[in-house]
C-alpha cells in the first residue's frame, strides 16, 4: 500500500480504509496482533486483514461485515482526523486542475493543516514532483510529517514549520504552483511569487470571506499576477430513491363507462386508488452551501 501506488494485498503497516456502509468510513493502521472495534464487532488484523485482498468483505465478530478499501486521497479526506477545517474533494479537484498539477509538478502549499489537500497533491505530482508545505503550528507540522511517513509519501514532501507570511516557503524560483489556505493570504503573495519559477506558474488562494478575496486580488494585481479569477464550486448530491405517487380518482368516466361497463362500482368503493412508482432523486434536506472562494492567478514570466 501507498497513497501513490496501488497494491493488491493488505500488509502489516498499511493504512486501510474500513467501509462501514452508507458512506461511513474509518482509517485503520494495520498491525499484527491489533484489533479494531466497529459497531459490527471486532476486526482482528492478523487474521481478518493481513494477507487479504483490498476490496474484500470482512465478517466481524457480531456477524456484521465491512469492506476494506485501498487508501486513496479521497477516502483519506473523509476518514482523516481533523486538526483544522479541511478542504474537501470538490474544491480539491478544482484546485488540482486549475493549478495544472501533473506528475513532476513542484508545488508550494500553506498551511498544511490536516493534510487533506497535501495528500491529493502528492498523489498527482508523484513520482517525480515535490511538495513544499509550510505549517506554522508546530504540533500540526509534526503530526503531518508522521502521517506522510506512515503513508509512504514522505520522499515527495518537505514540511517546514514556519510562518509563511513572514518567512515564505523556504524555497525560491522552483514552484510551478502555489496554494494558499491561510487567514491573510495577501501577506503571502510576495513570498508566493518568489517561490515560483522564473518562467511563471499558477497560484490559488482559498478564502471563506469575500473581504479576504478582495484584498488578495488587489495584492495579486499589484504584484503583477495576471488572469486573476475568483470562483466557487459546490457539490450537489442526489439521493436516488423510488417514489410512489398516488393518482386521484376522478370517478367513473361517463364516456367510457357508458360504452363499456354497465355495472360499475360506486366511486367510493373503488379498490386501492391507482398509484405510480417512479425512480427519481431527491436533494438532501441540507447541504454545504459555501466552503470558500477560490482565487486563481497566473504569474507571468519575470
Amino acid at each position: 500500500m501507498s497513497f501513490i501506488e496501488y497494491s493488491n494485498l493488505i500488509q502489516d503497516g498499511d493504512v486501510a480504509i474500513v467501509h462501514l456502509g452508507h458512506n461511513s468510513v474509518t482509517a485503520v493502521k494495520v498491525q499484527h496482533g491489533a484489533q479494531t472495534q466497529t459497531r459490527f464487532g471486532v476486526i482482528r488484523h492478523s487474521t481478518d486483514l493481513i494477507g487479504q485482498r483490498y476490496g474484500c468483505k470482512v465478517t466481524c465478530s457480531k456477524g456484521g461485515w465491512v469492506h476494506v478499501l485501498h487508501p486513496t486521497p479521497e477516502l483519506w479526506t473523509v476518514a482523516l482526523p481533523h486538526r483544522t477545517q479541511i478542504l474537501y474533494t470538490t474544491d480539491i479537484a478544482m484546485v488540482t486542475m486549475m493549478l495544472e498539477l501533473k506528475p513532476g509538478s513542484v508545488v508550494c502549499e500553506s498551511g498544511t493543516g490536516s493534510g487533506s489537500l497535501s495528500h491529493a497533491i502528492l498523489r498527482t505530482i508523484a513520482p517525480s514532483g515535490h511538495l513544499h508545505t509550510v505549517e506554522f503550528h508546530q504540533q500540526r507540522a509534526e503530526k503531518v510529517v508522521e502521517e506522510f511517513k506512515e503513508h509512504r509519501v514522505d520522499h515527495l514532501v518537505t514540511v517546514r514549520n514556519q510562518d509563511v507570511c513572514k518567512d515564505g516557503f523556504g524555497v525560491t524560483g522552483v514552484a510551478d504552483a502555489v496554494f494558499l489556505d491561510i487567514p491573510s493570504p495577501w501577506e503571502a503573495v510576495g513570498h508566493a511569487k518568489a517561490a515560483m519559477k522564473k518562467h511563471g506558474g499558477r497560484l490559488c488562494s482559498f478564502s471563506p470571506c469575500i473581504e479576504q478575496v478582495q484584498r488578495t486580488c488587489q495584492a495579486l494585481t499589484e504584484r503583477g499576477f495576471e488572469e486573476v479569477r475568483t470562483l466557487e464550486v459546490l457539490l450537489r448530491v442526489h439521493n436516488v430513491r423510488p417514489v410512489t405517487l398516488q393518482l386521484p380518482d376522478f370517478g367513473p368516466d361517463s364516456s367510457s363507462s357508458s360504452s363499456q361497463a354497465t355495472e360499475e362500482a360506486p366511486p367510493s368503493a373503488a379498490p386501492n386508488p391507482a398509484s405510480l412508482k417512479i425512480k427519481t432523486t431527491t436533494p438532501p434536506r441540507e447541504m454545504p452551501g459555501h466552503t470558500g472562494y477560490l482565487t486563481f492567478a497566473t504569474k507571468p514570466r519575470t
Partner: protein
C-alpha cells in the same frame, strides 16, 4: 548568457508545436505550420512570427495577419480620466452622444490607428462621457477595449485550457462536459501516474487527454472505442511528447464480449478488424483501401505488363503499380500493427485488474458501465459522466441490484464565477446552467467470487518503515 538561452529552450514556441491562441476568454487550439493562415476571432492571422518567442507572449496583429510581440504591457489607466459625474440623472439616451459615425471609425481602422487611439477618439467625441460616474467610465473603456482589441496571446496547452476551450467553443462535441466536472472525474477516479486506466469516451479525446496528462506517461491507458476507430482530436491539442503515446492502448468495444468469454482471437487474421479499418473516420482511408482491395494482387499483374514494349507507357504503368504495391504493403503493415495493438490491449485487459474506469460518452452509460466494470480490480474507483441524470439513476439502480460496488454517489457540481473589483464585487451575471452529472463509486469483491486469501502476502517486500 548561453546558459540563460538553454534555460528558455523548453519554453520557446517551435514549429509544429500545438498551441492555444487566447483573447479575452476565447481560446483556439492550432498547430504551428509555416505559411498557414488560421482564422481567430474573425481575423486571419499568420503564425510564422511566433516561432522562437516564449510561451505566454502577447502579440499584436499587424496588417496582413502577421504577429508582432507587444512591446509593453499597457497599464490599466492608459486613458487618464479626471472628470466624472456622480449619478446618471442628467444622462439622456438620445442616441446622439457619440459624434463619430460608423464610417469615421472604419476610416480610422483603415488608417491603421492603434486601438488605444481609436478608443481615445471615441471618448473625446462622446458628449456624455464626462458626466458618467467613474465606474461607468471604466466600464465604457473596458467594453471598447474588448471590441477594438487587436492582440492574441500564445499559450502552451494544458488540460485546464483545453477543457475550457472545448466548453466555450464546442460543448456539443464533448457532451456538455463542463471543466469543473472533468476536474471531479479525474480526482474521483484517482487518476495518477503508474496505474492502469480504462477510458471510454466520445468527447473528442478531451477526457482521454486529461487522463493522459495526469498520468504523465507512467502506467497505461486503454481507450475502449466504439465504431471504426478511436477519436483523438482533443488529444492532439495537448501536444504530448512522443513517449506519452507508448502508454496509450486501444481496444474496440465490439470485442469486449469475446474477450470476456475468452473467445477473442488476436493472432489470426480477423476479417472484422479489416472491415473496421475500411470504415475508419479518416476520409482518405475510406476510399483508398477500397480501391486497393479491388486490385487483388498487384504483384501478378506486374509480371505480365513488365514484358511490354512501349517504354513510356510502361514506365507510367509500372510506377503506378509500384505505388499501389507500396500502398498495399503499407496497408498490410498497418493491419499487422493494428492486430499487434489489439493483442497488446487484450493482454492488458485479460487480467481484469485495471485500476480505474472513466466513462464519458453519448452512449447509454448503463450497458457501458456494466460491461467495463468487470475489468476492474476490487477496491478501485470508477466514474461515469452523463449529460442526463436519468441515465445515471438507472446505472445506480442496476449496480445496487448487482452488488460489487460501494460508496455510490450521484452528484453534479455548480460553478459560479465572481467579478472582484473595489466596491464592485458580485457574482457574474451569467453562469453555466449545467455541466452534466457524475456517478462515482468503488469496486469491491463480490461474495461468491472472493477466494479466501489466495496466497500469503509477500510481506515486507518494501523495506520502508512500517511501524510508526
Amino acid at each position: 548568457m548561453a546558459q540563460n538561452e538553454d534555460d528558455d529552450y523548453e519554453y520557446r514556441i517551435k514549429e509544429g508545436d500545438h498551441i492555444v491562441l487566447k483573447r479575452g476568454d476565447v481560446y483556439k487550439a492550432v498547430q504551428i505550420q509555416r505559411k498557414k493562415k488560421v482564422i481567430f476571432e474573425k481575423q486571419w492571422i499568420l503564425l510564422d512570427n511566433v516561432v522562437g518567442h516564449l510561451y505566454s507572449t502577447t502579440f499584436e496583429i499587424a496588417s496582413g495577419g502577421t504577429l508582432q510581440p507587444k512591446e509593453d504591457k499597457e497599464t490599466e489607466s492608459s486613458t487618464d480620466v479626471k472628470v466624472a459625474g456622480t449619478d446618471n440623472r442628467n444622462i439622456v439616451d438620445d442616441g446622439k452622444s457619440q459624434k463619430l459615425t460608423r464610417d469615421d471609425i472604419e476610416t480610422m481602422k483603415e488608417q491603421g490607428l492603434k486601438n488605444e487611439e481609436i478608443i481615445q477618439q471615441l471618448i473625446d467625441n462622446s458628449s456624455t462621457f464626462n458626466n458618467k460616474t467613474e465606474y461607468a467610465q471604466d466600464k465604457y473603456i473596458k467594453k471598447k477595449k474588448k471590441k477594438y482589441e487587436n492582440t492574441v496571446t500564445v499559450l502552451k496547452p494544458t488540460c485546464r485550457i483545453i477543457a475550457m476551450m472545448y466548453h466555450g467553443r464546442e460543448p456539443g462535441k464533448i457532451c456538455h462536459l463542463r471543466y469543473d466536472t472533468l476536474a471531479q472525474m479525474l480526482t474521483l477516479g484517482n487518476i495518477h501516474a503508474g496505474s492502469k486506466v480504462l477510458v471510454f469516451e466520445t468527447c473528442a479525446g478531451l477526457v482521454l487527454g486529461a487522463v493522459m496528462e495526469r498520468m504523465g506517461g507512467y502506467g497505461s491507458v486503454i481507450q475502449m472505442y466504439p465504431g471504426g476507430g478511436p477519436v483523438r482530436a482533443g488529444v492532439e491539442c495537448f501536444g504530448f511528447p512522443a513517449h506519452f503515446h507508448d502508454m496509450l492502448h486501444e481496444f474496440p468495444i465490439c470485442h469486449v464480449n469475446a474477450l470476456l468469454a475468452g473467445t477473442l482471437d488476436t493472432g489470426a487474421k480477423d476479417p472484422t478488424a479489416e472491415e473496421k479499418h475500411l470504415n475508419a473516420p479518416a476520409e482518405q482511408e475510406q476510399i483508398q483501401p477500397e480501391a486497393e482491395r479491388q486490385e487483388g494482387s498487384p504483384a501478378d499483374e506486374r509480371m505480365e505488363t513488365n514484358t511490354g514494349g512501349d517504354a513510356g507507357q510502361n514506365r507510367e504503368k509500372l510506377e503506378r503499380e509500384k505505388r499501389q504495391e507500396a500502398k498495399a504493403q503499407e496497408r498490410k503493415v498497418k493491419l499487422e500493427e493494428k492486430r499487434r495493438k489489439l493483442a497488446a490491449a487484450a493482454a492488458l485487459l485479460e487480467g481484469r485488474n485495471a485500476d480505474g474506469l472513466v466513462i464519458a460518452s453519448q452512449f447509454h452509460p448503463c450497458s457501458v458501465l456494466l460491461g467495463l466494470i468487470k475489468f476492474l480490480s476490487p477496491s478501485r474507483p470508477f466514474v461515469v459522466f452523463s449529460q442526463f441524470k436519468e441515465t445515471l439513476i438507472e446505472c445506480y439502480t442496476k449496480l445496487k441490484e448487482q452488488g460489487g460496488t460501494v460508496n455510490l454517489m450521484l452528484t453534479d457540481t455548480w460553478l459560479r464565477h465572481y467579478q472582484v473589483l473595489p466596491d464592485r464585487t458580485h457574482p457574474l451575471l451569467l453562469m453555466s446552467g449545467g455541466g452534466g452529472y457524475l456517478l462515482s463509486g468503488m469496486t469491491v469483491a463480490t461474495d461468491h467470487s472472493e477466494p479466501p486469501a489466495e496466497e500469503p502476502a509477500p510481506k515486507r517486500q518494501k523495506v520502508k518503515d512500517s511501524e510508526g
